[in-house]
Amino acid sequence: MSEIRNTSPRGEDFEPVPAQAGVDAIGMAAGVDQTPLPEEDRSYSQGQLVLRRFLRHRGAMTSLVVLAVIVVVAFTSIGIGPIPGWWNKNYILTYPKIGDGSPTWAHPFGQDTIGKDYFALVMRGTQRSLIIAFGVGVISTVIGTVIGALAGFYRGWVESVLMRLTDLFIVIPLLVLAAVLGKIASGWGVWGLTLMLGLVTWTGLARLVRGEVLSLRERDFVTAARAVGTSANRIIFKHVLPNAVGVIIVAATLAIASAILLETSLSFLGFGVQAPDTSLGTLISTYQNAFTTRPWLFWWPGVLILAIALCVNFLGDGLRDAFDPRQNRTKA
């Protein structure tokens, strides 16, 4: 093999030495700035960039704080399981009614028709709704990711079977399916309901992940891994999915937001969380007739549902913006 003399002075690539006459002339002509890069434009790893963009997203940050406050108050106030909270009343006992039950210092959220402390009730409902929503988010993300990844990676009959299954779940009205499954699982309490909702809400994620995997599997680094004999499992979990993590995180967050609303709708219809346990949807359903006479019984759970759903949606938006590589500057 013969060799051409490298024209670079140090026998290396030109790239570290931009002082080549021709290159320089072009650089000057185009008015390329030669001053050192400001701190703003320093090189960051992908993860750092995403984090920075996320932290600068005002909507997402506000939502994160609001959501954190809701979660902390909901779980510390009446405690969880055997652990007592700082609130001195619970959601089961009835208390002497003060006036018509409207909010007072003793009962900041008021009392219901038979004198239960509404703050404790709403906190219990919030706990339940949050647990269900996050549980559904996790379950549907895992199922959706696995199904989408398998379909996208293996193609062929695996893809056909899995995607037709997905279509099947999509054409059945979600609310009806969830209602029936929820009724079956109601005996297992909140966890049964969570599992059932998770089993019917993974479809969107599966499609999204499949699309992402379809494009990633054609990339050369996957071919390179196959060329050295890497196993399919390892390729899926070490090479393909880490590169799809942005899409998955965003979709998972938005799945949580829709799970909140799904749980609320189901409970409102009477198929969700059953008395004596309660959730935000169940509370609204139970006291729907009280709207004109005791409006606080409607407003507190209503506002909380709205706040949680909005916050999670904003977080999802913030994450999406943060993961979007085309986005240099964050919107307010």
Partner: protein, 267 residues
């Protein structure tokens, strides 16, 4: 001393609704240690299909791939050992390195996978590999691909291919995605490594000039057939087949006037 031989390889792709597509038609190529064979042809001539068949990403429809006279194993450990012997450098260094993993990971994996060196020496071997491809180990090892330039990435890709200490290297247009100014550096690196390690190299390209300078033999591929082969200088200076002549006439030559070059293409 290793010899890889493609013997009468045919590859047929089944295209839905359009019958069969003959990608390779009775192609025979031999690559021996210490020698560079350039595979030249336009897009769609079957160059990359040959690379895929050699790396066993695809199976030949008929014909055989022989390493030192033995057919390539179909599966299991034996196939892994074959793959350890035959490695590939991809065209696009922006796509062939996983953006999620660091340079260290890219080099460690093949070392661990094939137990090239004992576990406690992996770190040192990674540094040696980076030095081999003339990258500064301390400055590169913890970086991710997107923090490196195109030339640096291709050097990492070459280091990765060398990690398993192969005897044969398939380089599929290793410089065509790189900036013109750094192509020579990468090609010279490949030439140096080939001499140091007595590698057999299959250099796939459509650039006749570099094919002539960097290889001992040129094989010209046209629509899946070998139309001409021979010592590099002979093929370039005295092309026999009219496709080779057209290919030569079509590549820009600084000595000829532009209009003449255009004339040549029309022939």
């Amino acid at each position: 001393m290793s010899v890889l031989e493609l013997s009468h390889v045919t590859k047929r792709y089944r295209v839905r609704g359009a019958g069969d597509m003959l990608a390779l038609d009775d192609v025979s190529v031999t690559i021996a240690s210490g020698r560079t064979v350039a595979l030249v042809g336009q897009s769609g001539s079957g160059k990359s299909t040959i690379a895929k068949i050699i790396t066993q990403l695809e199976r030949a429809t008929s014909g055989q791939v022989l390493l030192d006279g033995a057919p390539v194993p179909r599966r299991g450990r034996a196939l892994r050992r074959y793959r350890q012997q035959v490695r590939m450098v991809f065209q696009d260094p922006f796509a062939s390195l996983n953006p999620y993993h660091t340079v260290r990971h890219h080099l460690e994996r093949p070392l661990r996978l094939d137990h090239v060196v004992p576990a406690e020496e992996v770190e040192a071997e990674v540094h040696r590999l980076l030095e081999r491809v003339r990258l500064d180990p301390a400055a590169t090892v913890d970086r991710r691909p997107h923090e490196l330039s195109g030339g640096q990435r291709q050097r990492v890709a070459i280091a990765r291919a060398l990690a398993s200490r192969p005897s044969l290297l398939v380089a599929d247009e290793p410089v065509s995605m790189l900036d013109v100014s750094i192509r020579l550096g990468v090609l010279n690196l490949l030439a140096d490594l080939q001499r140091e390690r007595d590698l057999g190299v299959l250099y796939i390209t459509h650039d006749l000039a570099t094919a002539r300078h960097f290889s001992d033999e040129i094989v010209v591929l046209h629509r899946g057939r070998v139309v001409e082969r021979g010592p590099a200088d002979d093929v370039i200076l005295r092309p026999q087949h009219e496709y080779t002549q057209a290919l030569l006439a079509a590549s820009p030559d600084p000595d000829k006037h532009f209009a003449q070059t255009r004339e040549g293409t029309r022939r």
